[in-house]
Each structure stands twice: as structure tokens, then as C-alpha cells.
């Protein structure tokens, strides 16, 4: 019965369109994809065989709203009917658009589009690699611009298909091959304008990864300005068109040569200026040295003058001192005691003569006066008085000369001095004057 049903169903529903949401998505190792397609009211099992699944550009996701085309069949072991899908299209946006968004999100998560991955484009490339088709407008535009701007540029074209089944692989391989050469400074990868379908190769993961893996900086130039591909996101520089890419990678040779000449001229001028300045400084220095020499001479002269004057002054001082010393010497020699002594010695004999003379006179005078006094004394001598009959009474043994009778008592021994000889007497009576 199942067999009959199957024949009947397959005949009747050999090509049907359905719209619904994907659920119960399963993708076992076989590569076939199983799911359930459902809307609000109903659901149906669906199978996507591997051969169809690999052709899908976007990834099937749970809940994705899709429009499918296929044929109904019955899976006999379970007695279930299911739809075998030929085509799956996302509802609303195109399949390519969805695939683009999905891949962009995934690669962005990986960091492939990060700004810090971007390499800088060399300012003066000698060899430019171009990955594009040899037949499109892109290569003509690129060659024209490169040749105009930098006529001596070395251009290396890696021809590839830029659309169709093999395009992605070819582009990726060309990028790898140009990297391997080692002589390429920058690579332009791109093509002219076209539909989203035409430009699709530049959204393929293999191309994006080849650009990301390139050691040589890559400039993308895909389609027109409004076309944005994943190659643009991952490239080190995105040019809106192939011509713009060519302009971006090379400067204008004549301008560069001009710039170089100008630099050379400025170099010479500035060095000349520098030298002139240094020359002035040198001249000023030489003037300074001359001045110093002049000043030195002047100073030497002044020094000589001063030395001369000093010498004169010293001479004068010396002379003055010498004169003073002579003066003092003269004074001193006047005061020499030897002279005085000599004079003294001359005087002494005169003095002694005078002294002797004087002494003789004085002695004679004194002798005379002494004789006179002696004569005078003779007249006054008690002996002379005694000779005239007077005597002198003295107490014995005191020897007192008696002047009054009262001075002695009766019995007093007396001695009487006469002009010649003496008498020993004793008092027998005393007679006072009053008694007379």
C-alpha cells in the first residue's frame, strides 16, 4: 500500500512550491540535511540531499523563513511522506544577500576585517601585481592609469576569471602566486561593474581568506563605488573602482621627480646658507682674534711703560736712601767717640798741669794759714796761762775740772796741775762765796 501511495503521490506532486519556517534542522555525517517545514497551521518533513545542499550559498538556520521547490515522496520504512528539496531560497532577501550577511558576520567574528590587521600601502611601489581578467574594462583602466602616472612601473598581471564557478579559486591562487614571487610591492585585485551575481566571487570565503593571508598589501577594486564585497572589507585598502585603485597605489612619477629635484635644490640652498652663516661666524671670530692680538700688544706696551716707570722710581728711591745713609754716616762719624777720646787725651795733660799748679798754690796758702792758726793757738794754750801762775784743780779719780768749791766735799782727793808739775791735795774745808 505504501508503495502504491508513493507512486501516486510522486506522480501527482512532482514539482511543488512551499513556503514556511525551517525547524528541527539536522545535518548528520552523510551531508544530507533533514528538517521540518512549518507554518502556523501545518508542517511537513523535508530532506535536502547532499548534492543539493552543497550548492546552497547560504547556511540553513533554524527559524529561517524560506520558499522551497521540490517533489513529494514517501519514506517507506516509516510510512511518512516528505518533500525532497531542489531549491531553497530565503524569503524577503535573496539567497546571495543572506549568504553575504552570514559570511560577513562569521568572518568579522574571526577578526578578519579588523583595522589593526591592515597593512600600509607602500608609497613608491616598483612592481604592482594585478589580479583580474585580461579581457575586462578593469585591466584597461588600471593599465592606463598606472602607465600615465608612473610610466616606468613594472606591472605583473595574474589573469583570472572574475566570475563563474572557478573564479574564486583562481583569484585566491593568483594572490598566493604573486605573494610567492616576493618581488611584488602591492596587489590590486578587482573587476569592473556587474550584478551582485557577477561580483559574487569577491564574496567567497576562499578569496577573503587569500586576501587576509597575503603578506603583500592588497587593494580591492570591485565594480562601482556602490558595490561592496567582502573582499573590500578584508583588503588593506578599498578603492571604489579599478581606476581609483591604480591611482591609489602609485604616485605621479613626474611629481615625484619634481619633488626630488626640489629637495635637492633646497638641500643645496640650505647648505649654502649654512656655510655662509658659518663663514660670517668665522670672520667674526678672526676679527675677534685680531682684536685680542692688538689688545695684547697694547697691554704689553703698557706693561713695559710701567716697568720702566717702576725702575725709575726704584732708582730714585735707592738714590734717596743712599743719600740719607751717607748723611747718617757722616753724622755718625762726627759723633765717633774715638775722636772725643783723642781730644780728651790731649786735654788731660793740660788740665793736670793746671791742676798741679793750682794745687801748689792752694797748699802754700793752707800751710801759711795753718802756721798762723798755730801761733794763735799757742797764745791761747792753758800751758801759757799756767805759766802765768794759774793752776787747774781736778777731782781724783774722775778728773773733773773744778770751777766751784761747792762741787766737792771734805776729804775729796784733788790733783792740781801747775805750769810745771802737779800736786796731790785733800780738801780739809770748803768755803762758800756767801760765807766770805
Amino acid at each position: 500500500m505504501t508503495g502504491l501511495l508513493r507512486t501516486s503521490i510522486e506522480a501527482q506532486f512532482s514539482d511543488i512550491w512551499l513556503e514556511g519556517e525551517l525547524s528541527n534542522l539536522r545535518a548528520p555525517g552523510s551531508g544530507h540535511v533533514y528538517c521540518t517545514l512549518k507554518d502556523k497551521a501545518s508542517q511537513i518533513r523535508a530532506v535536502l540531499f547532499r548534492s543539493t545542499a552543497v550548492r546552497l550559498r547560504f547556511a540553513l538556520q533554524e527559524g529561517l523563513h524560506v520558499i522551497v521547490r521540490g517533489r513529494l515522496t514517501v519514506y517507506e520504512p516509516r510510512g511518512e511522506y516528505q518533500i525532497v528539496l531542489d531549491t531553497v531560497e530565503p524569503k524577503g532577501i535573496g539567497a546571495l544577500q543572506l549568504a553575504f550577511e552570514q559570511l560577513k558576520e562569521r568572518l568579522a567574528m574571526e577578526g578578519l576585517f579588523d583595522q589593526d590587521r591592515k597593512k600600509s600601502i607602500p608609497a613608491f611601489p616598483r612592481t604592482v601585481g594585478v589580479v583580474t581578467s585580461l579581457t575586462g574594462a578593469a585591466i584597461r583602466d588600471i593599465l592606463a592609469v598606472l602607465r600615465r602616472r608612473w610610466p616606468t612601473l613594472h606591472i605583473l598581471i595574474a589573469p583570472v576569471q572574475v566570475q563563474g564557478e572557478n573564479a574564486g579559486c583562481q583569484i585566491a591562487e593568483a594572490l598566493i602566486a604573486l605573494n610567492k614571487l616576493g618581488s611584488v610591492d602591492v596587489i590590486i585585485v578587482g573587476r569592473g561593474g556587474g550584478s551582485l551575481e557577477d561580483l559574487w566571487s569577491f564574496n567567497e570565503e576562499i578569496v577573503v581568506r587569500a586576501i587576509a593571508g597575503s603578506h603583500v598589501p592588497v587593494v580591492s577594486a570591485v565594480g562601482h563605488e556602490i558595490d561592496v564585497t567582502l573582499a573590500d572589507f578584508v583588503a588593506d585598502l578599498r578603492a571604489p573602482t579599478p581606476s581609483a585603485a591604480a591611482e591609489a597605489v602609485v604616485p605621479v612619477l613626474t611629481e615625484t621627480v619634481e619633488r626630488l629635484r626640489e629637495l635637492k635644490v633646497r638641500l643645496g640652498q640650505v647648505m649654502l646658507r649654512h656655510c655662509a652663516f658659518e663663514r660670517q661666524r668665522l670672520d667674526a671670530g678672526i676679527r675677534g682674534v685680531t682684536d685680542v692680538r692688538f689688545r695684547l700688544q697694547e697691554a704689553a706696551q703698557r706693561t713695559d711703560d710701567m716697568v720702566d716707570r717702576l725702575r725709575e722710581m726704584v732708582q730714585q728711591l735707592l738714590t734717596a736712601w743712599r743719600e740719607r745713609v751717607h748723611g747718617v754716616q757722616r753724622d755718625l762719624s762726627g759723633l765717633n767717640p774715638i775722636l772725643a777720646i783723642k781730644q780728651g787725651l790731649a786735654i788731660v795733660p793740660q788740665f793736670s798741669k793746671r791742676l798741679e799748679g793750682q794745687m801748689g798754690v792752694m797748699l802754700a796758702q793752707h800751710r801759711y794759714r795753718i802756721h798762723a792758726k798755730l801761733a794763735q793757738l799757742n797764745t791761747l794754750s792753758p800751758l801759757a796761762i799756767l805759766r802765768r801762775g794759774y793752776s787747774i784743780l781736778q777731782t781724783v779719780p774722775a778728773g773733773q775740772i773744778l770751777h766751784r768749791a761747792n762741787d766737792v766735799g771734805v776729804g775729796q782727793e784733788l790733783e792740781a796741775q801747775l805750769a810745771s808739775g802737779r800736786l796731790s791735795c785733800t780738801v780739809t774745808q770748803v768755803f762758800d762765796d756767801s760765807s766770805v
Binding site: P125, T152, H154, L263, K264, V270, M271
Partner: protein, 82 residues
Amino acid sequence: MAAVKFEQAMARLEAIVGELEKSDLPLDESLRIFEEGIRLSKNCLKILEEAEHKVEVLVQDKNGKKRIHAYSPDDAADEPSS
């Protein structure tokens, strides 16, 4: 790579001119970099003059080996129009 050498030489040359224009360098130092600048500018011009325009194509032969040959418009005939 020659491109890098040229770029560095140009950058160095610009730096030298800028430095000399500031003119606060001692004379022997400025003479030294002046000579370097002259050498650089000569080298740069030489690099530019020696460069020779050529357009080549990288192709894969039947054994899968990459070869480079001169580009001629005939090459275009082999490719389908895009």
C-alpha cells in the same frame, strides 16, 4: 624590497632637508647629513631612471607551473569576456 628602499630614502631626504632648514646643527654635522642627502637624492633619481616600463603576465602552463611572460594584447583573446 626596492620600493621600501626608495620610500625610506625619500623620507630620509625630506627629514635631512627639514633638519638642515632648522639650521641649529653644528657645521660638521650638517655637512655630514648634507652629503648623505646628496647621495640619497642621486640614488633616488638613479632608481627612477633605471626603472623600465614592463607589463608581464603570470600564467600557468600545462604542467601547472607558473611562468611569467611579456604581456601582449593577444593574451586577451584566450580569456572569455566578462
